[in-house]
Structures are given as C-alpha cells and as structure tokens.
Point group: C2
Chain length 337, copies 2
C-alpha cells in the first residue's frame, strides 16, 4: 500500500515479476478493494501464484513509526512482516514509510543472535561492476562492534547473492595521515582485522565508485549523507549535460546524433536497477523499495528479495556471526585457564 | 616547493597570476636554486612584484606533520606562514603536505579568539551556482560548538568573497523522521538557530549540489567522505560516458559531433576552477591547493587567497565571533541580576 503510487505500481510489478520467475509466488498484502481494482485494471487475476492477504490499515508516509507500531496492528506493513515471521512468506518488500518499516520489522522479527542492530544495505554501481554499502541510515550513532556486525552482514549478503565465498570488506574512513578517522572507526578496523572476514582495510570516499571492495561499511549518518550527495551530484551533472545539448542549434543537432549514446549511458547509471535496500540483521528478509519506484524499479526490489532468499542469506549471517564470537571471545574453557 | 610538481607548476602559475591581477605581489618561498631555474626556464625575472624568499628545507608529502613542525623550522611552508604572521604577506598558498600545513599554520598563526579549531572549506559547483562546504577533514570529532563556529567561519568567508551580507547556512544531516541526526548535530542546530546567522536549518546530502544554501556545515569526517565520494562518482560517470562514445563506429561518429558539447560540459564541471581549500579560523589566510594542481588550478588557489584578503575575511570572522559571544552568553551584568 505504501510509496508514492501504492498498489497502482506495486500490483502490476508483482504480476510482471511472476512472469519473469516461475519459481516465485507473491502475496499482495493490503486493502482488498484497492488491490483488486488494480488487478482488474490490468486484466490480471489471483491464482495459486498470486494471493491476496487482506489488511485493514495503512501506515502513512509521514506517520510516526512509534505510533504506527503501537496503533496500527493490522497495517499492510505489519501484516506482511507477520507473514515472514510465521514462515508463510520468505521475504517482505515495502515501498512505505522507512522508519515504520525499520521499527516494525525489528519489533516483530527480532534480530539474529549476535546482531545488535539491523542495518540498511544498498547496491551501488562502480567503474568495474557494483558494490554493497551499509549502513544507509538505520543507525546514526554506531559503536565499533556495530560496524563489525555491519561487515559480517554485508559479507553474508554478497556471498548469498553473488558467487563470492569471501567478499572483500572495506571500512569507510578519511585519508589524511594525522587524522585518519575517529576513535570508533579505528577500533572497528581492529575488530574487522581479527574477524575472519576478508577485510581489505580502510577505504576512502572515492573507493566506493571505484569498486575497491565488495562491501563498504560505515555508520548510518555517513552512509545516508554519502548516498544522498551522490544522488544530488548525479542530478546536477545530468542537468548540466542537458543544458549543454540545449544551448543552440548546433548543440541540439549534435544532441540528435548523441541521443542513442546518451541513452545507453543513462541506462547504465539508471538507479532503478539498484532499487531495493536490504534491511539486514533480522530473522527474516525485508526489502525497502524507494517510495517513488516505478514498475521497473519495484521489480528490482522484488528480485533483490528473491535473490537473498534463494542465497540463504539469513543462514549465512547466523553462521558468520557465530564464527565471529568464536574468533573474538575466548571460550569459557580458555578463560578458566 | 610542495605538491606533485613543486616549483615546476607553482612558479609559472605565480608569473601568470601577476599578469591577471596588477594589484597583487607574490613572494616565492623555497629553495632558491629550484625556483630560479624554473623562472629561467620560462624566461621570467624577479622584480618588485615577484620576490624570492629563501627557505633551506622542504616538508615531504608523506612526512609526519608533528615531526615537520618540530624539526623543519626553515621549511618553505613554515617560512611562508611566518611571512603571514609577520605581516609581510597577506596570505599563504601551499600545495604541500596537508597535515603539516594544518599543524604548522595553527602553531604559528594561532586561532582567532572564539574559534577553537581551524576548518578546511571548499567551494563546490551547484545546479544554480556554487556553495561553500566545511569542514573537509581538519576535524574528525566535532562538538556542537565547533559546528557553530564552522557556520560562523563559512558565512564570513562567503560575505568576504561574494556580495552577500547574510549568506544562508545549512547543517548537513539525514532525513529519516525517527533518526534525524545524532545528538551533536541536534545541539548544533539549536546553537545555529540562536546565532544571529542566517540559519536555513538542516540540509541533506542532495542539497549540497542543489545549492540549497550558501554554506554547508558538517564535521570533517563526513565532509571528507562526501567530497571524495563526489570525486569518485564524477570519475565513474566520466568513464562510463567515454566508454559509451567508444563503443562502435556509430557512437564514435556521434562522439565527433558531440565533442564540443561534451567539452563545454567538462569545462563547466572542471574541478580545477574550484581548487584551493581555505584553512579558516586562523589569524592569517592560508590556502591549500590540491597536490596535483596544474597551472590553471594553482591560479584558482591564488585567486581564492587574494579574494579572501581583499574581502577582509579575517576581520569578518572576528566580528561575527564577537557577536556570537554576545548572543550566546549573557553579559556579566545580566548574570549579576
């Protein structure tokens, strides 16, 4: 029900996705009338692969997450997350209120043992491929241990959805010799170094899009600012490019010739293919789609959920966290010695 | 003497700059032989507007700032900063070791009363013009008071070099409702709101390149990561664009037509015109040029120094900080009441 377009985008996306992937079934959760009328509009029907699960309430996009959690027990978001908890669904995808999705997922699903806080991870394009970055805003103040756990979750995510047994993990930091990072980041580097992960070491801002590592770890404040700055810069450059091609008759003429090339370029950087932030660290798969997602973008988010479920991501996180405790803490027996 | 190219770029840049601006005199500080041979190579001569001030040592680009400060009392950097301290020069420009420049400037010049820590400010392009952002890495852990002081310094910088009496100041933060920023940023917003500055409020990462405010304030960790991420993203997009134009015969042909447009676009985003980070908060003007600066970029850095000196930046910072103490602290008399 959430996002800028609600069922109007989500219902057709679900129908499209089912055509692409014959192994997946989808449960549409929300106000029955709204969902049915969208299905009717695109001449699609419910069936064994596409079910409707009614929910009587909707969390507003600007609603307080705390209030949504307390008062809207039958919201589409809450009901969908319950389906994951009960094992009826392997993942939940929402384009709704991010804060409410975080709070509700955490409350209903709980975190995996050894994980203190869930984190939001996104996939970003790089010069050579793509990279995964977390946290993107779920946690503002992070301890070194949290950053370590983000590393574990990020590495597990990459292992699940890509064919990489030991993905490289970089810790986002700054470069100046005298001032390399604050205390928390320094401690986190130490923890990551002894974690059994494939820890690359510190990376700087420019390493993200260079693709230096498979995973980039940072706190949610830095991650959120970095991501939004990137959006802003990309928009500015796109505006400049458009303006230059619109400048005069000659540039417009050049624009006609360059159009297929510019379009190929645009497709390559099209953020819709990267839609879907993974909420990691919970006992269930939850994907947050951008609120403004269109059909293509929402299908990317569904695909992300399916890939994580297929790749056994939850099991991988649990296993790596368990290894971590083995690495970082001496066993009781050793302590006794 | 510093940077990737030393006098080979700096000396010709100085000579070029003097041709552009008849009111400015330049003192070249460093190893006499090296400077003289560069002057000789471009058939330029010393004179009343271009002097040489010898210094026998050079701070290495990877040298420890603390050691440089302690042991190299006759480094070109130290001697140049001394000239500012003694009033023989109105500003110092260096392409050298950033950490050493920060440490030496702070030690020699001291901070302006009311400013606890110097900050690095850069100018960035926006959709509508440009914006100034600080801190860019001089301070990793900042208190709310430091962020307030950065706001004061940034506003004073803009007032000095642009025709804006009350530049707008934004505080970089994240947007999610439940998690709007850490405690320090929240406190800083409160301080900025009562500062007498034209405080816009919180801004998000995408506001930087949108040009929402004249000044964007953040701690040095976030600022450094943001700036380097922007560099990385711009490089990635440039690579993609080049690759698309190189893809086949047709795209190469389109590239020939589009070349003037792409060049105009490149000139518009050419980071060399933004070269020169201002080290603010000291009792003297210090500009850090990028180490890789070429002639054009280094001239931008010189121009930045000249603009700050002409605009009376130091006086403006002092005045605004003084007003600040008036705003934020009750006078002794009031305290007595």
């Amino acid at each position: 029900m959430g996002g800028d377009h609600g069922p109007h985008v989500i219902v057709p996306s679900a129908v499209d996705y089912l055509r692409q992937d014959s192994e997946v079934n989808i449960i549409l959760v929300g106000i029955s009338d709204a969902i049915e009328s969208e299905l009717h509009a695109i001449k699609a029907e419910m069936g064994p692969r596409l079910r409707l699960h009614a929910a009587s309430e909707v969390v507003g996009m600007d609603e307080s997450p705390a209030l949504a959690l307390r008062n809207k027990k039958d919201s589409s978001m809450r009901v969908a997350i319950n389906l994951v908890k009960n094992g009826e669904a392997q993942a939940c995808i929402s384009a709704g209120n991010t804060g409410a999705l975080l709070a509700t997922s955490r409350f209903v699903l709980k975190t995996i043992p050894g994980i203190d806080r869930p984190a939001l991870a996104v996939i970003l394009p790089t010069i050579t491929g793509h990279t995964y970055m977390l946290d993107l805003g779920a946690n503002v103040d992070c301890s070194a241990e949290h950053l370590l756990q983000f590393g574990v979750m990020g590495a597990s995510l990459v292992s699940s959805v890509e064919d990489k047994a030991l993905p490289s993990v970089g810790l986002l930091n700054i470069g100046e010799e005298e001032i390399k990072g604050n205390e928390i980041v320094k401690q986190a580097a130490e923890l990551l170094r002894n974690s059994g992960l494939n820890f690359y070491g510190n990376v700087e801002g420019n390493d993200i899009y260079k693709g230096t590592t498979d995973v980039v770890v940072c706190d949610g404040f830095v991650g959120n600012v970095t991501l939004k700055t990137s959006e802003g810069l990309a928009q500015m450059l796109a505006t400049y490019l458009r303006e230059e091609f619109q400048r005069n008759l000659f540039t417009k003429f050049a624009g006609i010739f360059a159009k297929p090339v510019i379009n190929a370029f645009k497709n390559r950087v099209d953020h819709r293919q990267y839609n879907g932030a993974s909420l990691l660290g919970l006992r269930g798969i939850v994907i947050k789609s951008h609120g403004s997602a269109d059909n293509y973008a929402f299908c990317s988010a569904i695909k992300r959920a399916v890939d994580e479920a297929r790749g056994g991501m939850l099991r991988r996180i649990s296993e790596r966290v368990a290894e971590l405790s083995y690495h970082s803490k001496p066993s009781p027996r050793e302590t006794v010695k």
